[in-house]
Assembly symmetry: C2
Homo-oligomer: 408 residues x 2
């Protein structure tokens, strides 16, 4: 498995484009992107569990469950097309139809995604113009994947891309991906969107299974503020153009593919957490020696979501009491007097708590360790051998500023 400089256009047979259509306010921000596969690709997706699902989520869910093949994805930032009723769904369908017509492909094989303001209707004239222009400039260069990765951002401070090459039965297979994190634009919450392309030849059922198995350990372990969006979507397209021996069972090839996919999703999930609104640092939480993975996940998520803990991380404060408290109200059962808590970073490692009670740790050393851009808290609960990792970020003045300033 080799990490390469690339994105969604790295796998064979994938093109992309990103440009400004005019959905977002201002005059310079890109706001529409397209991914295109030369041939119909096996498609799978995972979607928000929010009861309030945006129209594009409903459209994509139906497509990956029934059609199972896709040849293009059209994404807009600026308007989420959520809480827009039947008209919203029709607009998602219409976007797919326009795209199908322009590209000469089956509209039932066009995925759509939106992120931005809730409750506003997509400006279909701008969408139509955008789709036409995107189709014209589709390309498979590095610049094309960068343009697409930039066009899907909202309050993200930078684009998020990754690509890997793996060998499957002696054949080089490439996976590329881009995503955007939780951001806010006038005046509503943002969304986590991820798009993965691969030239691997793999059965749709296995593609779906591989994606879902990764998501639980990656995107589903990220929290910026505990608010689950209406639009969260991760899509994967596998077009088979690498020409590898088709993956048709859960064999070694499948494991190799899944491993690469997990690597990609882990990277993207961490990128989203680190670029959380107003964040100054990535906060990783490892829960180890748990009785079960489920228990470890509940505990890790509770710590990483705790506002008080997030404020402490912002303040570089070795505030272990908040970590133990957040574990305590997580709903998981454990013995507080068996818990060890350690914090670590590139500056070193220090045990703050042993068997539920403070060690005689040096506060200045702890603050030093909590200062870098990536900090890790590890809770050892001594119940078994399961573990889980969650990623989040600190809670800062800027988070409040971004989300309280009206119409910013």
């Amino acid at each position: 498995m080799v990490k390469i400089d690339g994105g969604v256009t790295s796998p064979k047979g994938f093109k992309a484009a990103g440009l400004r259509a005019g959905i977002k306010a201002g005059k310079t921000n890109k706001d529409m992107a397209m991914i295109y596969s030369d041939v119909p690709a096996a498609a799978a997706g995972t979607f928000t569990k929010n009861v309030v699902k945006a129209a594009p989520v409903l459209w994509d869910k139906k497509l990956v469950e029934n059609e199972k093949l896709a040849q293009a994805v059209v994404i807009n930032s600026g308007i989420a097309n959520a809480c827009t009723g039947d008209e919203g769904y029709e607009n998602s369908a219409k976007t797919a139809e326009i795209t199908g017509n322009v590209l000469g492909i089956n509209p039932a094989q066009v995925l759509v995604a939106s992120t931005g303001v809730i409750g506003f209707t997509l400006p279909m004239d701008i969408i139509e113009k955008g789709v036409n222009e995107l189709a014209k400039v589709l390309g498979d260069s590095r610049e094309d994947s960068i343009a697409a990765a930039e066009a899907i951002l909202t309050t993200d401070t930078h684009k998020k891309e990754i690509a890997y090459e793996v060998e499957i039965s002696g054949t080089k297979v490439t996976l590329g991906a881009m995503c955007k994190g939780s951001g806010m634009i006038h005046p509503n919450m943002g969304t986590m969107l991820g798009f993965i392309t691969t030239d691997a030849d793999i059965e749709q059922e296995l593609l779906d299974k591989a994606l879902k198995s990764c998501i639980d350990d990656t995107f589903n372990m990220v929290s910026v503020d505990g608010d689950t969006s209406t639009n969260d979507t991760v899509l994967i397209l596998a077009n088979g153009m690498a020409g590898n021996k088709k993956i048709t069972s859960e064999d070694a090839d499948y494991e190799t593919f899944k491993e690469a996919l997990l690597e990609i999703n882990t990277y993207l999930a961490k990128q989203i957490a680190q670029d959380g609104e107003g964040a100054t640092r990535l906060f990783q939480v490892d829960v180890v020696n748990a009785a079960s993975i489920a228990q470890a996940k509940v505990l890790a998520k509770s710590i990483v979501t705790s506002n008080l803990t997030k404020c402490a991380i912002y303040g570089k404060d070795a505030n272990w009491g908040r970590i133990l408290c957040a574990m305590g109200y997580s709903g998981a059962e454990f013995d507080p007097y068996k818990v060890d808590i350690t914090v670590s970073s590139e500056k070193g490692s220090i045990k703050l708590v042993e068997n539920g009670k403070a060690t005689a740790f040096d506060e200045e050393t702890a603050t030093e360790i909590l200062s870098p851009e990536v900090v890790i808290a590890t809770a050892d609960i001594k119940m078994g051998e399961a573990k889980a990792t969650a990623w989040g970020c600190d809670l800062t003045y800027d988070y409040v500023k971004i989300n309280a300033d009206y119409r910013s």
Copy 2:
């Protein structure tokens, strides 16, 4: 039911005191309080559901479940006596013992409560000195209840007291109360503590039942930051000195008593929310026409806990998409396209959403309505006749400041 100017010393036979013993940093803040009943009182309590329970919580839980009678409560602020192991529990027991000896009462009938830093051991010499001094200055005047109410505070900006008089079978019965809200002191989270006194004559089982029935609709519907403390405690002492016909069944007298208790708990819960760390306004959420009270509560709590919604309230932003989104990820099932959302305050009322879609509301009017110190959001989900109310506050720069500034 008449509201009177008073606190925990208002009911007959109750004395209180509050003073500075020297637990908190600084030289001026009061940090110990005592409540004393002339005779043993029926006692009941509700406690944190956090797996990590502070020593005083364990002590009190045992007392109200087994002894069921209490004659004194000793409270300290500054140190939470949480995550302190066997030594912590022994210190709670010792505090009760010292108090019993000084007051000449049964130590097994002394309740204790602590709030403040997690992980530090109580300075028992200071506690002992404090108990001795408190016993000397116990009094039943208004000043005494004020001193006690002040001594239990941490980052609260003001004391929280209330008292009511009710008539039970022709006899005047008084209820008094004080509480403290969620605050943070060096370097850990605070706690919600509530203490209610009454001279009502009521069987312990009914006292317990009345308290628990109120708590679910009041203290358990408050959220400042979603972090449930290790020390949360609400205690009630009923000493029977009003001389009313004893309440021994769930009759009209019981209902009258419960109504007064509900009024008191509602007031205290709202006070805690409004005085949440860094808060500039009280945010009340009403969910109406739900299929069940449980469903209404889940939805109301999810809205009031949403960081994005809390930021919007700080920004006076009629950000209904965040409210609907928070309902959507609450876990409750409902039809988003049947939801109406209205915001209101002393400045008026405006419907933002009708059947899941934005009305053509005027943004300036909405901002005006969201400006006062108390704002209400009402979600009508049109499924039945149940309703619930939750209280919270906005999320502000000051919340982050209070909780991130090291050693503040």
